[in-house]
Amino acid sequence: MSEATKTAQHGLSEHSHGFGVPIQTRSERPKSTKLADFEEISTREEQWRYISADRLGGLDKDSLDEFSGDIDAKLADGFESSWIDSEHKLFGAAGIPEDRVAAAGWEAAKAAYLLSIPSSVTNSAQSIVTITSISADPAALHIIVEAKKGSNAVVVLDHRGDATLSENIEFVLEDEAKLTVVSIQDWNASSIHNGAQYALLGRNSTLKHVMVTLGGAVVRMTPSAYFGAPGGDAALYGLYFADAGQYLEHRIFVDHSAPNCKSRVTYKGALQGAKAHTVWVGDVLIRAAAEGTDTYELNRNLLLTDGARADSVPNLEIETGQIQGAGHASASGRFDDEQLFYLQARGLSELEARRLVVRGFLMEIVQQIGVAEIEERLAVSIEDELERSAK
């Protein structure tokens, strides 16, 4: 078994010869909207260190269909939706791909679903967009959310169904906009999803981004926040729960390129079952111009059973000393037999004990959402995950 794995790995690495000097600083990582600008995927590349191309369901090829599922939008008053083609100035306004799979999706999606929040919406109105995929053929989807100057709104992007999807989502926050985004990945069990998300924060704008990844065989989310002007505030939250065999990866990038901006990254993950694997990589770059930056990132993982694996890698790169603060923390803990015994000795069944611990651990993130119906549904989904794996 291990012999076979070794051979496969060796074959892969042979293709990676001659790549040249690896990228040392985050700011030099190549960006492009064209698949051809990226090399074939190799686990020798930092971005693909933990997952091999053969688990991506063909999303790294130039043969993606346009998304053919349903987009069902329950829009609050004032929100507008439309489809725009790739010539539109908003295409790429927030950011462009940094890896091959995101570029494949970018090229294949000839139009984007645009959700526009006008300046007149200032009451934190909530819109829920449900994206239901019905085909497991490799497909591409592009979504753009535009928050106009001074607007204040909540957008939930809820992913469901059977999918093999490369998705690019852009969030463009104009000056003083306040936007809360909740991106839920609750796919059916065999789905494969690569979701690149880009947020550009205008002057004194505020982004609260909550990533929730529960369902899917392979889900790889790469949210990035870019500060286009001073005074921005980005709070990125995440929660994930990996069952047996699931691979859930989150790569966060916060690019502090403007002065006096603030960022907080808080991701928490629970793992349960054989070969449940999660990867969290948090890159924070404070560029020379970003004086007065205040940033902190945190990742916590809770391993509920043996056989699960959580990788956690915080990276902080600082190019100026004139900052308010910069820090990171990462820890992965185990729910062990002694904790279980303690709780059982107080009358809790094994399932109740796990439920208590996981709820306590993950609810902090769920409560950030602020949309009651979504919070309730996620609380139930987390319980379901626990029950499923407890069997």
Binding site: Y342, Q344, L348, S349, V357, G360, F361
Partner: protein
């Protein structure tokens, strides 16, 4: 009126050197309202007795019986034992990150009683119990045992005992790591709960110090996995004077 009967209990653990027998035929009967002190030198198996009654999976019962009011405790899971009315105050309570004391207490009470406590009276009960144990009310917002001092951990164990109202409580070296003031508070708590609830107590200790505050009805000297001698409170006084040497070297 409840009775805990331990009959000819033999318990082994797996070690790197193979199976090791720790308890070698323990007999003990505890009735409601009685306080039994089990005293003995380190390594005599006192804590093994406590964990075996509570059902820790590390300890394998190879022979004998444990009965609570005639019910076979050994056939019950750990949580079933707790719900049947057994309580173990642990020597080393573990941290449960992310779970607040308040949430934990309410969840445990719900599990033990089979129904959630009425909210208003529950909040009052918790507050009253904490005041008696001289615990700050902010304590309930902290995570279970996380960053607790030794004294706080032990008070938290006694707080649980007060709120869960077990029939039988096993206190495993509850006195260890406590200064005199904390020891007095904890001991007063045990005495009060015993008097109020008619609880039976199995008090496991190495030192006689706690027996100045909690008066046992019976004292059992535990040596090499079994009871070597038993008597009334006067036996504790003799141990205070003579130590365990007499038994260990016998």
């Amino acid at each position: 009126m409840a009775t805990l009967e331990i009959k000819n209990l033999h318990v082994s653990v797996e070690t790197e050197q193979g199976t090791k027998e720790i308890l070698r035929g323990v007999d003990l009967v505890i009735k409601s309202g009685e306080t039994h002190a089990v005293m003995g030198p380190n390594g005599s198996g006192k804590s093994t007795l406590a964990y075996s009654i509570a059902g820790h999976p590390k300890y394998q019962v190879t022979k004998g019986e444990i009965l609570l009011d005639g019910e076979n405790v050994l056939e019950m899971s750990v949580d079933e034992r707790a719900r049947a009315g057994l309580f173990l105050a642990m020597q080393y309570p573990v941290e449960i990150p992310g779970v607040s004391v308040s949430n934990f207490l309410r969840t445990a009470k719900t599990a033990v009683d089979g129904k959630a406590p009425a909210l208003r009276s529950w909040v009052a009960d918790v507050r009253t119990a904490m005041e008696k144990l001289k615990m700050d009310s902010a304590f309930t917002e902290r995570n279970v045992n996380e960053g607790f001092s030794g004294g706080e951990k032990k008070r938290h164990e006694i707080l649980q005992m007060e709120l869960l109202k077990p029939k039988m409580a096993i206190l495993d070296e509850t006195d260890s790591g406590l200064d005199v003031d904390a020891l007095r508070v904890v001991a007063e708590g045990v005495n009060r709960i015993t008097a109020e609830n008619g609880m039976g107590v199995l008090l496991i200790t190495h030192y006689t110090r706690i027996l100045n505050y909690i008066k046992p009805d019976f004292v059992h000297v535990f040596v090499a996995g079994k009871i070597a001698e038993q008597g009334g409170p006067e036996l504790a006084d003799r141990l205070e004077a003579d130590g365990y040497d007499r038994y260990v070297n016998a």
